[in-house]
Subunit: 210 residues, 4 copies
DNA sequence: AATGAATGAGACTTCATTCAT
DNA sequence: AATGAATGAAGTCTCATTCAT
């Protein structure tokens, strides 16, 4: 049922700018080709605009990337935040965060992918901004790992870098596949860290291969 | 037999070919800016040549990348190979491989970095070639992990992807620092996988943080 | 009749029209950068408007220039007119005119500068208009020089072109400086010309500079 | 008689680049439209090149202007120098210099015109360079005027600025015309100044015009 | 092996201007 | 009177590449 009087018409007609589509298109192109190789022509064309029109919304290509990157961080943060709210056990929370992170990276729109695939160094003018955005997000994992009940002397920082590196690298090899979902991959990653791999007893090791 | 008095002209004219410098320069630029953003101008300029001269050595920019990439894989493979030859224990061998991998990535010239920082997808015409080069190298890790004495049912492929992902991601955050050497980082990574992180006993966990 | 209690809305809305500021800004930009290089963006921005809003006041950039130019001629004419009204001796009147001309050019707002710095040829569509505006003003000097008691056969037109050229060129080298005021400069220019031409008696002329 | 064997063929084919034509075309366009309004497209098109080809010869548009401006100064300096070498009397030398200056400005190619029509301020990045080039040329007039036998206390600097201003402004009004040649104009300008300043005897000066 | 002038395409960006609101 | 999104053309400049020398 439509609202009795379509009041926000005027406001909406201003609001329905193509800016969101523009961001989407930019995210897609940046993720697919990288920042440099994605041309403004290609980006705007996919939303039916002309190159010059981009500059109504962004001062230049760099700022467009900054906006996409920020949105990417926002989305992945939100997804991880939502996932965390459903768990209390520290290890479960870590696994849920990994799963949400991987889902954002592997399943969804291109925003999250931009965050991991665009190296800040490759855009000197933005490097500081992008690094700070990414650090803001990764602070979340600092907390998650701080909450883990780990053996004394565990190198928590290294653990975080190990885990995030593994997660962020997945787009380099992951191919969608019914069996190996992002969620299951996250479970496996965390499981490998949780469980002891080292087996002092020799025969156990040999039996593993047999 | 060459004339005794002859200056080593012929040999020298081979030796002082600027092709190696060209490759070095290309590696440096590709690693620093990415394939697209590194211009042929920049590359040749840093060895004192002119753009057209590049084409005496390579048919085009793609082939230049292919050569750098191949050399990168060759170097990192050789380094890892040398490191492996000094160990027999499976875990030691894995750690040595990781250390050599990280050293190549973080310490040395830019060749290895090109291998991890240039996404094959970003150069469609070369994608297959590059992927196959990288796979050839990573096969080494398949073997190393196959040799590990692991508990039954361990997801060895996932373990490999976890570890290589973590290693390959390091250039995104690593900053040279006397204390945290690549070698030590490799040790910590492997240690985190070897040892059990999960602690069934509740108090142990809480005491870790208290 | 407007309601007595009405705030002076109507009058104010006229008064606070930003048209005068717009003209000022345009004069400043045209004078500083030239007609072509001064962008509408820059002009409107300095009065807090948006580019589209300019077209509420002027049909296009050319008409904006025409308005500024006309105002420039009007101001300099008025200034010279005021100065003339204070003198009766022909040479004094010429010097006063030169002083007013130079003051408008060197001291004041940018309007007068637009008149001398924007070459009519650089705006073909307006060339005729601008030339005619400038000629209107320069006619004043035709009269001033016609009134001078000069030796027979003096090339009065050439004298005018010499003098106006020298005056109009001053912005190319003049730098504000306490000692060399526009007024003093006008005096010096006229003196250099007057000495020979002014002829109450022969020795006066030669002694004028000694 | 042609050389028996056209040896410098090879050398010439390198030397016959279109750089001179490029400079000529740039001078023409800059003089006709001003620096900003003259587009690179127009300039190169008039010598049958493509826009990108310009950058084989000049790093950017500014450097092209710098080259044209420098050549303009060189040409006008050379012309004035040649003219000076034919006279010894100070006033004759000044008049000859003015004639050569005006001829370069009004008759010939566009180079000289660029020097007077492109305001250094309009190209901030080049302002210092252009001003210094122009000052180098105008130093010539400093000397010429220093050599004039003038009444004591004559403001020689002002005299120079008056004269050069008048000369440089001529392109704003001069229209080629059989009777009023640049040479004759120079004579009239100098005459207007000379009469009073020139002083073999006091009555001669007053009688000169009668 | 190397040069340097030239190409042709395409890059990002700015411009004056329009128009529904 | 003013906005702001959009246009379409044009701007300068860079790119990988070619080729006669």
């Amino acid at each position: 049922m439509p609202p009795p009087s379509a009041l926000p018409r005027a406001r909406q007609s201003r609001a329905d700018s193509r800016l969101p589509q523009l961001l989407d298109a930019a995210a897609a192109q940046f993720a697919a080709k990288g920042y440099q190789a994605a041309s403004i022509r290609d980006i705007v064309q996919s939303v039916g605009m002309l190159p010059g029109s981009l500059y109504c919304h962004f001062a230049n290509k760099d700022e467009l990337l900054a906006a996409v990157y920020a949105e990417g961080v926002r989305r992945i943060s939100a997804a991880v935040g939502r996932a965390l709210s459903r768990h209390t056990d520290p290890w479960d929370r870590l696994e849920a965060a990994c799963a949400a992170h991987l889902e954002a990276l592997l399943d969804r729109s291109a925003y999250a992918l931009v965050v991991t695939s665009v190296t800040p160094d490759s855009v000197p003018a933005l490097a500081a901004t992008l690094v700070s955005l990414r650090d803001g997000y990764e602070a979340l994992f600092v907390d998650l790992i701080a909450d883990l009940p780990l053996p004394a002397r565990t190198a928590r920082r290294t653990l975080r870098l190990l885990l995030l590196g593994a997660l962020n690298w997945t787009p380099n090899w992951y191919r969608p596949d019914g069996r190996r979902t992002p969620r299951r991959l996250a479970r496996e990653f965390v499981q490998l860290l949780k469980a002891p791999l080292y087996q002092p007893s020799a025969h156990a090791s040999s039996s593993a291969h047999s």
